[in-house]
């Protein structure tokens, strides 16, 4: 009887998720290599076809955030497909995207002067179901606009990323998640010269129907590594190189 109840609750939860816009994803698309972060997501997989909001305070942090987004984008685009990167003061250097396993020629950059135009372009782009993802650089995002975007992606199954730098008003939005990514100092010992792989402190501040959390991850060899495991890899690499 008890197991029965648990089953029913699990099924009802699934139904609720579907009603809230989390469509069940096929197993091949599901895993984008985020490891234990997956446990925080509903359905235990990164929400595709949803809006993700990233906030950052300064240029350095927004670069780290951009790196994390690029890494996610690379995973989403691994089966081919194109993405849009829309911004009003974009400084992304396309060749660097190659380090995140993206073919930079598959990204189309839209550079617009006004935030209003960025909003319009985002709205149009998110409705185009032939895209994999759309990244938008915005400073402010109103609740209404975010709800519009979220409703659009629920139809088109495009994944939307919004990069908010220097936002004056961290208001509530209809996005499925809110992230904050900051960079971490590298792990190498003082006597080893050079700079190691990118390392980030990834905080999932909000996630609808999931558990927020905080992780330290490293981007090595086109894969995410959680810091505990990354540690050992770095040590192994040290051993290899002597």
């Amino acid at each position: 009887m008890i197991t029965n109840k648990a089953d029913i609750i699990a099924r009802l939860r699934q139904d609720l998720l579907a009603l809230q816009g989390f469509k069940p994803v096929s197993s091949t698309d599901a895993d984008i290599g985020l490891g234990q972060i997956n446990h925080s997501f509903p359905n235990a997989s990164f929400p595709i076809g949803a809006m993700h909001e990233f906030i950052s305070a300064d240029k350095e942090d927004s670069t780290a955030t951009g790196g994390f987004i690029a890494a996610l984008l690379g995973k989403l685009m691994r089966n081919g497909g194109a993405s849009l990167w829309i911004g009003s003061s974009r400084t992304v250097f396309p060749p660097a995207l190659k380090f995140f396993d993206i073919d930079p020629e598959k990204i189309i950059f839209i550079d617009l002067k006004r935030e209003k135009d960025v909003m319009w372009a985002m709205d149009e782009a998110l409705k185009c179901d032939n895209l994999v993802a759309v990244v938008g650089e915005l400073q402010e995002l109103s609740f209404t606009a975010s709800r519009r975007f979220q409703l659009a992606v629920e139809q088109s199954r495009v994944t939307g990323f919004i990069l908010r730098c220097n936002s004056r008003n961290p208001n509530i939005t209809a996005c499925v998640s809110r992230w904050k990514v900051t960079s971490l100092p590298c792990l190498l010992n003082d006597d080893i010269p050079g700079v190691s792989f990118p390392r980030w402190n990834v905080e999932l501040l909000k996630i609808r129907n999931g558990k927020p959390g905080s992780w330290q991850i490293e981007w090595i060899d086109n894969r995410f590594h959680h810091l505990s495991s990354a540690n050992s890899i770095a040590l192994e690499l040290q051993k290899e190189t002597g």
Partner: protein, 499 residues
């Protein structure tokens, strides 16, 4: 109904055309010449040069003996072809069936056309006068057959109109060349004393054929109308334009939308039938006060999709000011290309750049924001960071070289390097401290230098020594020193941020 043909012979086609373009050449003897076996040979003369017995085929040096001040202008190959084609298209106002007869004739099938001008005489006069005002000196003749008309135009003396069935009479006194024979046959006829067509036209056909070949029989038959001659008419290129006049002047946006819809539908239907798609289209509204309001759109790939094109125009409809009303709408496709049908896929999981929806989305961006907002980047073979990418507007352009990832490149690159204050040990070590925007960064880890030389064939300047550095908080920067450490004028800059 008897067929009637008009042959117009442009006696000085190229030189008349040149005189028209350069009025200074008027009343001067000049020739056109082209190199042939190392000599300049005259290809066309004007009437003043011809009056001094300079003819085509002469060597320029010989002609200069006759007229020392002779002007010689270079001839272009294919000139008479283009000129005649343009003239033929112009002549469609006189007859729907106009054909080019190289090197210097036009043949018009004027069956049933002349009476519209009030008879053949006025018709012919009209043509000759109009060509004369244009500056062309022509001879023209009308007859039942092309052969007779050609003969009269070139060799005839009378009015140029041969009545129906009078071919033989008209031809009798003309030389054999008038039958469009090749030079050898004509020479042979002259040698035999057959100096007029009348001398041999009555001869038995078998005898003529045995001595001069089948060609002469064919030419005689064509001139007399016993054998049909086929001409290939010129078809002018039809422009892709649709018009919609209105009974009442239109003032509302809805009316404009309806007009646009109708025009688009008819135009797209035609394009679809011809397997074409438009790249540039202009929608013009003619207002009753004489002003023309227009909106223009462009597309990434040729398309004849009415809904998509309407969407592109729709954004701009509000810019039209109808004022007192619009009486005529026109839609013109200025750029038209062949459409490659899009292959439908059964399993369309994720598609790349070659995709109709995506190009339609970009069309909308281009039309709303104007050009130069949509960028796609391809690698370019330069080490200098700013030049290592090139922007392209095309979605289909492929890579010519690979993306280089052997050296670190920052995720964010400042469009213009910003100067920073730096403390660095001598001479090639990475900096220890740097101050950027008032904040002091202590460098813990560093990689470099990577020296990138200025490409002297593109721009003068000093080299850059790049360092990839990390400060105590884990932020990563791309710094460079411009110039040699030994020079006192070196300077440090920040150029990018790493993830």
């Amino acid at each position: 109904m008897a067929r009637r043909f008009l042959v117009i012979w442009f006696r000085y086609l190229k030189t008349d055309w040149l005189t028209r373009r350069q009025p200074t050449l008027q009343k001067l003897p000049f020739v056109l010449a082209a190199p042939d076996h190392g000599r300049m040979v005259i290809t066309a003369t004007n009437q003043f040069a011809e009056a001094q017995e300079i003819i085509a085929g002469m060597v320029v040096a010989d002609a200069r003996v006759i007229i020392p001040s002779l002007q010689v202008i270079d001839d272009k190959s294919g000139l008479s072809d283009t000129l005649l084609k343009a003239l033929a298209e112009w002549f469609i106002r006189y007859s729907p069936c106009v054909s080019v007869d190289l090197p210097d004739c036009l043949i018009l099938d004027i069956t049933g056309c002349a009476h519209l001008w009030g008879g053949e005489k006025i018709y012919l006069q009209n043509i000759i006068t109009r060509l004369k005002t244009l500056g062309y000196n022509v001879r023209a003749a009308i007859a039942d057959t092309i052969g007779t008309a050609w003969a009269i135009a070139h060799y005839g003396n009378n009015s140029g109109i041969i009545e129906t069935g009078q071919q033989t009479k008209a031809l009798i006194s003309l030389p054999p060349e008038a039958l469009r024979l090749d030079t050898e046959t004509a020479e042979l006829l002259h040698k035999l004393g057959l100096n007029h067509i009348g001398n041999f036209i009555g001869m038995p056909r078998s005898a003529l054929r045995r001595r001069f070949g089948y060609h002469i029989i064919q030419r005689i038959d064509q001139a007399l109308g016993n054998e049909e001659e086929i001409i290939y008419p010129v078809y002018p290129i039809e422009i892709y334009q649709e018009r919609l006049p209105c009974l009442e002047p239109m003032t509302t946006a809805t009316a404009i939308e309806i007009a646009l819809h109708r025009l688009l539908e008819t135009l797209c239907q035609r394009l679809k039938k011809e397997q074409k798609g438009l790249r540039i289209a202009i929608f013009k509204c003619y207002r009753i006060d004489g002003k023309i309001e227009k909106i223009e759109i462009g597309t990434n790939r040729p398309t004849h999709n009415t809904t998509h094109l309407f969407k592109l125009f729709e954004i701009k409809i509000e810019t039209i000011e109808p004022a007192l009303g619009i009486e005529l709408f026109t839609l013109e496709a200025q750029g038209v290309e062949d459409v490659t049908p899009f292959q439908e896929k059964l399993w369309q999981t994720t598609s790349g750049l070659d995709n109709i929806n995506l190009s339609e989305l970009l069309d909308r961006f281009n039309n709303k924001f104007g050009t130069n907002h949509v960028h796609r980047y391809l690698p370019d073979e330069h080490y200098w960071p700013e030049r290592s990418i090139k922007s392209t507007a095309s979605l289909t352009e492929t890579l010519t070289t690979t993306w280089k990832i052997d050296r670190p490149r920052p995720l964010q690159l400042l469009s213009r390097p910003e100067p920073v204050e730096v403390t660095a040990p001598i001479p090639d070590y990475p900096p220890m401290l740097f101050r950027y925007k008032g904040k002091l960064h202590k460098i813990i880890k560093a990689d470099g230098p990577e020296r990138i030389e200025q490409e002297w064939w593109l721009q003068q300047g000093q080299h850059r020594d790049y360092y990839y550095v990390e400060d105590e908080e884990g932020h990563r920067y791309w710094l460079f020193r411009l110039g040699h450490y030994a020079d006192s004028s070196y300077q440090w800059f920040i150029h990018g941020f790493f993830a």
